[in-house]
Amino acid sequence: MTDPIIITKNLSHTYQSGPLAQAALVDITLEIERGSCIGIIGITGSGKSTLVQHFNGLLRPTSGTVIVDGLNVSASGVDMAQLRQRVGMLFQYPEAQLFERTVFADVAFGPRRMKLGRHEVRTRVMRALETVGLPPHDYAQRSPFELSGGQMRRVALAGVLAMSPSILILDEPTTGLDAEGRAEFYAYLRRIREKQGVTIAVISHDMAEVAALTDWLFVLHNGRLALQGTPRTVFSQGDQLREWRLAVPPLNELLAALRRQGLAIPEEVFTLEDAFTLLQRVHNMPWTRKL
C-alpha cells in the first residue's frame, strides 16, 4: 500500500473487569489507505467497535501499535486533542446527541471548542451545512428538533465535518433511516470523500450498504482479522461468511444461487447493472449459459 493513513501492528486489546480478562482484539495488523472508504464487518461482539475506538484514542492498545495520520496512539505523550480533531466519529443514532437551540449552534459546538476565531467558525459551519445538503440560509437558524430524522442525522454529520477531520468513522450510519434518507446520506458521503479527500471507515450490518459504498473490507471474527479484500472478493466467499454468521448482499446471494444451478456467471459480475447485462445475454444466447 502506498500511503496508509491508519496502521495497526499486532494490536491486541483485553478488557479487564475485576479478575476477569476478556480478549476483545487479538493481534490485528492492518493498513487503511489515505482517501479510501473501507468497511468493517462482523457480528455483534466481534470487536468492530473496540477496533475503531483505537483510531481516535478512546481506547489504548493493551499491546501492539496504532498509528493514525502520523500520530502514535499507543505512545504515552500523544496529543489527544489533535488526534480527536483529525478523527471524526459519528456514533449510532447521532441525532440523539443534538442539543443546541439552532442548527448553527449545534454544528459550531466542535469548532468553538477548538478555540477558532469567530469568522473561521462561521466559515466552517456554513461550508459543512452546505456539504450535507442543508443550505445555511434555510436551515442555520432553525431548531434541529423540528427537522426530519434524515436531516437531523445530517446536522450531526455536519458537526463532525466542521472540525475538518482527515478521517471519518461512521458506526451503523443509516440504521433507522428509510430508503430515501439512506440514498441521500450515501450521496453526501460520496461527495465528502471526493471533494475533501476524507478517509471514511464504516461499520455496518447492512451488506448491501458496504458493497455499494466501500472499496475495501475488513472482516472481524472473535476479535481477529479473519479476512480482508475488495467487497467483490469478500462477498464471493459466501459459505465462509455464513460460518461466521455474516450474510452476503442479496444480489450476491442470487448470483451464488444461479452458479449453484449451473449458470456460468463470472466472478467479475458484482453490480445490478453487470447482472442485468449478463442475464440478458444469457437469455438471448442460451449456449453461453452453462459452464
Binding site: G176, D178, G181, L251, L254, F276
Partner: protein, 295 residues
Amino acid sequence: MSSSPFIDIQHVTYTYPDQQSRREAVREGRTVIHEQDASLPALRDVSLQVGYGEYVVILGHNGSGKSTLARHCNALLTPGSGRVLVGGMDTADQANRRAMRDMVGMIFQNPDNQIIATVVEDDVAWALTVRGLPAALIRERVANAMTAVGIADMGKLPPHQLSGGQRQRLAIAGVLALRPQCIIADEATAQLDPLSRMEIVALLHQLWREYGLTITQVTHLLEEAALAERVVVMEQGQVVMDGTPASVFADLERLRRLKLAIPEPIELADRLRGAGIPISQEALTTEAIARELAH
C-alpha cells in the same frame, strides 16, 4: 369457524395527544420520521379486516402509521374515532383488556423492553405466574414455549448472555406461553443482523403453520413482506395497497415512491421481465428468482 374477521378495524382515526408524545413514541422505536407525516393524524379513517389464521404483513416507511395501527390491535392504543373489534370484543371496553391481551401477544423492536426476570425460564413464566396459574401447568407451558422457539437448552441462563436473536426468541416464548391466537410483531427484526432477522421471520412462519396462529408482522422491508400471504401497505396514516405479495410488488415504481427500498434481486427480476425475459410475478424470493432464471 366464524365468518366474521378476527381483527376488525372500522374507520379508525387516531391523533397522538400532542406532537411531542408522537415524537417520543417514534424515538422509542428508534426510527426516524418525516416532517409532513408528523403534522397529520397518525391514522386517517383506516378500515382493515384480518381473518383467523391469516399471515399479514403491514409494510410502510417510518412514520407511515404502521406501528400505530398495530398498537390498536391489542388495545395498547384505542381509536380517536371509529372502532376496533378483536375476536368480537371492542378494544375501547376496559373490561376486555386482559382477555384481549392474552389473545393477542405483541413483540417489539427491542426485546430488552419486555424481558423482566433474571433467568430465561422465569421470564417465560412471568405472565403466567402473575395470572396465578398452577405451578405444574406453568412448567409445562414454559417448557413447550421454549422448545417452540428453539431456546429449550437456555432456561437457566441470564437473558443478557443471549444474543439479540435469542432474546427476541425469548420475548416470543413469553408471549406464546399465554397461548395467544395472534402474535403482532412490530418491527421485531429491525435491530437484528441479517441472518438473525431471517431466522426470526422463519420462526414466525413456523408458528403460523404449526399452531394456526394469526400473525401480523409490521416491517419496512420488502424481503420480509415477500413471504406473507397478504401485504397491506400504509402511507400517511392510510392503507394505500392491499393484496398478495405478487400483486403489490407488481408496481415497484409505486413502492419506491412510498420510500421503500427495493431489494436488488427483485429489482433485477423486474428489469429482466421488462426486457422480455419470462419470470413470473410470484417469484419474489432470491431462491424463486434463481430457479426461474436457471430454467
